[in-house]
Symmetry: C3
Subunit: 132 residues, 3 copies
């Protein structure tokens, strides 16, 4: 369970790496799944925090709050949140090598909150492969 | 094989759940793959049908029929369909727990048709994990 | 390791198929992962090269070089490249049947370079399943 601070990127790389370590993983693949429709998973640059600011801006331009949305019962930020989650997805995998996530040098794993307010988000992590 | 009614969202959660039940799955992961380039797979809200209407509108704004497309030989809806399929993807996974799909409360699995006319679309389902 | 020619689509289907053949794969699934944040993976039409031209145009419209980006230190093409990579993703799978990729008739696997200049990009391929 991950607590978000409202709209924006939460780096979950450390939590995910801890899961791999605790499960005694050796060689294989980690599958990550998010059980929500207004938050999503993104692997992106972890060096300059401006990148995350700009990624959030880009998503706002692609799915503006004042878009032609019919579904408005849950507030003006709800339907744009669904669009953003659709475009970025809730299911991905990362290779595991030698008991560690085989991320690229600049890659971090992010849970992206698309609603304005903070939420609790449920993540499912599954390792397939050999033990260390 | 899934029959679509032309542009829009087809809920395939029931078909997918039936596959998991029939395959005697216990704990593991279901991999879903769509063998097409102008339709795609999306996990999104299953409660209010307006959400699917708005998601389709959002995709039309992102890839309009009158965009600057060179590829027009298959009709004005073809190239936008490829763009929409690229943005949403044809490959995803869902965790399986206790012999059932571990979807979130509001998550449904959708095959999204991006062409105007109805099509037959081929889905590939694979379970990796232990038997029940 | 894949060499790209700068912005655009590189067909990697042949390299991926060779990996499946050399690994003696039978039935299962191939997982593909790209270790970068300004390039991504897309499964799309392999027949008419105009489709790839138009897909690149579509991405430029969605993430223009002159967008409201704060992160500019790596050049005007860098932040749009991150946005495009976020929208298309770095993680996907393809089913393997009878020792071959079970792609649809018109599907090719593409490494999409979003930076202007050529780059060397690192791909990770993993097969899960039975031997032939």
């Amino acid at each position: 369970m991950i607590e978000t601070n409202g709209e924006g990127f939460t780096d979950i790389t450390r939590e995910v790496a801890r899961f791999i370590k605790q499960s005694g993983a050796g060689e294989g693949v980690l599958l990550i799944y998010l059980r929500h429709t207004s938050a999503s998973l993104v692997i992106q640059e972890n060096a300059d925090p401006d990148v995350q600011t700009d990624l959030a801006s880009a998503l706002r331009l692609l799915a503006p709050d004042n878009g032609p949305w019919v579904h408005r019962v849950e507030g003006p930020d709800d339907m744009p949140a669904h669009v953003k989650a659709m475009l970025t997805g809730v299911s991905l995998h990362v290779p595991v090598r030698g008991g560690a996530l085989a991320l690229g040098t600049w890659q971090g794993i992010y849970l992206v909150e698309h609603r304005t307010r903070p939420h609790r988000r449920e993540l499912m992590l599954q390792f397939i492969g050999s033990q260390a």
